[in-house]
């Protein structure tokens, strides 16, 4: 019961913070969509970090290290530290300046204007929404799975569990069912996003990021203590599963290198685009650029160590599910209801800090990119704009929740494919802010090639998995390397073959370059 009190207490605190932050809402659409460009350095750092770190940072990283050893850190965390900050520095600041200058709140608005093409806006909209929705589903389904696994035996009278025909017995007796977790998570997130828009999201993300970072460190400390200390825990790995301490035979070198394309996805995440626009000034980005790699290290190193310690200690992944290893370690080694409660709160925090931004950005996109485009923005006053955004957010949360009852097959495999899609679109945003010669034709052709290549490799991968498993590598490389290269090549070649953008557009998006040319 202690665990449940902590979990409920955390949700109430989060809700209270969301409601409190909504008191600062200024009642304008600019405040609802981009917090009137008023977010300071600390809130930006925490909201951007919380948004980019999903539950995978706690649960998935431990599970993956349990399977593949320490190489998982280099594969995902250290690449992300370098590349995410590079994108915040090179792209985020530029996008913020352009967004602030022209009042853009969505990517489609920006790309439509930069490439003088309403078609590109309509083409991008379903692609971006289509890549965010599986990501949302993974969050809700993940929250349900974690809660079910960690609350076994809590309410035997209320939830009798589910029959496992393979085992011939009931499973998850007394645990909170995924439909209830999904409902509670959706309602909590919906409440604060609905009330305060992106400002409440930033406040809530800050709190959630602090919760999941603290939880990870506490879990790490207590698990190490129960294993006899840091040295004893690692000595067990050296004695029993030494392969987990290195990368030989666990991760391919080409896979290790080509994973660098995956973190490029942050350059095209619509929810991060919106968070960038909330910054008070370009200087606000400084703390995020510097601290992001170090924050990743603080969260990931303990989780990777817990994963390899679990392998060394001979912990069995329940039902072969490596993602359950962190929960199992806490349950078997620490057996503390308080830590279980904290761990669930931490995992929920990591999940919800991404979910809220995604719900917010989808509501913003539907309102701005569809309704205002179709009916004209001047037809709506600020109150109606906010009403529409809220209505869309309620609709999207409801649809996503309903979709969790009918999850598509291989939904969790879809995660890396979503990242691959966003990562492969990176040349579009990079070219838009750095390459004056990039044209509408180049942008549209690149996006179409990205979709075609993605669909081809994705279908191939799903068929391969359906036929009996296997990983997603192609010639030892991550598929994103191929999709990215095809997209980049197409954008460059077609841009060079088509008419350059109008001088007025170049002047609008590259004012300094134009000034330098005139003075030079």
């Amino acid at each position: 019961m202690t665990s449940l009190v902590i979990i409920v207490g955390y949700l109430i605190l989060l809700l209270g913070l969301g409601v409190f932050s909504a008191r600062f809402f200024r009642g304008t659409s600019a405040d609802y969509f981009v917090a009137s460009h008023s977010i300071g350095p600390f809130l930006l750092l925490m909201s951007v970090f919380g948004t980019t770190m999903t539950a995978f940072a706690l649960v998935g990283s431990t599970g993956k290290a349990f399977d593949k050893g320490i190489g998982v850190y280099g594969l995902m965390a250290s690449w992300s530290g370098l590349i995410h900050s590079a994108i915040f520095f090179l792209v985020g600041i530029k996008v913020w300046a352009i967004g602030k200058r022209y009042g853009y709140v969505t990517q489609c608005q920006f790309f439509r204007a930069r490439f003088e093409s309403p078609t590109l806006g309509y083409l991008l909209f379903p692609i971006l929404v289509g890549l965010v929705i599986p990501y949302l589903l993974i969050g809700l389904l993940g929250a349900g799975a974690v809660m079910r696994g960690l609350t076994v035996g809590f309410f035997p009278d209320l939830f009798p569990g589910v029959m496992n025909p393979n085992l011939g017995r009931m499973q998850f007796v007394g645990s909170i069912p995924p439909w209830l977790t999904g409902l509670v998570v959706s309602c909590v997130v919906l409440t604060y996003v609905f009330l305060g828009g992106v400002r409440s999201t930033a406040w809530a993300n800050t709190f959630q990021t602090l919760v999941f970072m603290t939880t990870g460190i506490i879990a790490f400390w207590m698990i190490a203590k129960r294993l006899g200390g840091f040295s004893a825990a690692s000595a067990q790995v050296l004695a029993n599963t030494p392969q987990h301490l290195a990368r030989e035979g666990m991760i391919g070198r080409l896979e290790f290198f080509t994973y660098c394309f995956v973190p490029l996805s942050v350059g095209m995440f619509p929810h991060l685009f919106q968070h960038w626009l909330t910054a008070k000034s370009a200087r606000t980005f400084r703390l995020t650029v510097i601290a992001h790699p170090i924050f990743i290290m603080i969260v990931w190193v303990p989780c990777i160590l817990i994963g390899i310690w679990a392998a060394g200690a001979g912990i069995k992944a329940p039902g072969g599910n490596a993602n359950a290893v962190l929960g199992t370690m806490v349950a078997e080694l620490v057996d503390s209801p308080a830590l279980t409660g904290l761990l669930v709160a931490g995992i929920l925090a990591a999940i919800m800090s991404s979910l809220d931004s995604q719900f917010m950005c989808l509501g913003t996109m539907f309102t701005n990119d569809i309704v205002f485009r179709l009916f004209g923005v001047d037809r709506f006053d600020d109150k109606r704009k906010i009403f529409l955004a809220r209505a869309f957010i309620v609709l999207i949360v409801s649809i996503t929740y309903l979709l969790t009852f009918f999850p598509p097959p291989h939904i969790f495999d879809l995660g890396v494919w979503c990242f691959s899609g966003f990562g492969s679109l990176f040349p579009l945003v990079f070219g838009a802010v750095y390459w004056r010669r990039m044209t509408r034709g180049g942008a549209i052709a690149g996006v179409l090639v990205m979709v075609a290549t993605w669909l081809w490799l994705f279908t191939r991968d799903m068929m391969y998995k359906g036929a009996g498993g296997g990983d997603s590598l192609i010639l030892g490389m991550m598929p994103v390397a191929i999709i990215f290269s095809a997209t980049l090549l197409t954008m460059v070649v077609v841009s060079l073959m088509t008419r350059p953008p109008a001088p007025a557009t170049v002047e609008k998006f590259f004012p300094n370059a134009s000034r330098e040319r005139q003075t030079g």
Partner: protein
């Protein structure tokens, strides 16, 4: 300084592929696998390089541009 930072970022990009620790499972400080310690230090190095970039290669013109324009366009919420 800007060039030094560009070189440092490129160097970091290549230093990620630490093939010299690839099969080395030895422990540093008695508990930390050397490959993990290297990549944890790599994350800190990335933070330091970006701190230098922020200090010495900050795109001041972008900041000024948005500032000037924001004053001019104050109140604009959504474009048509």
């Amino acid at each position: 300084m800007r060039n030094i930072i560009i070189i440092a970022v490129i160097l970091l990009f290549f230093l990620h592929q630490d093939f010299w620790w690839w099969g080395d499972g030895s422990l540093v400080w008695g508990f930390m696998p050397v490959g993990l310690a290297y990549h944890a230090a790599y994350s800190v190095a990335a933070g330091l390089v970006w701190a230098l970039a922020v200090k010495f290669a900050w795109p001041q013109t972008v900041e000024d541009e948005a500032g000037e324009a924001a004053e001019r366009d104050e109140g604009a919420a959504t474009p048509s």
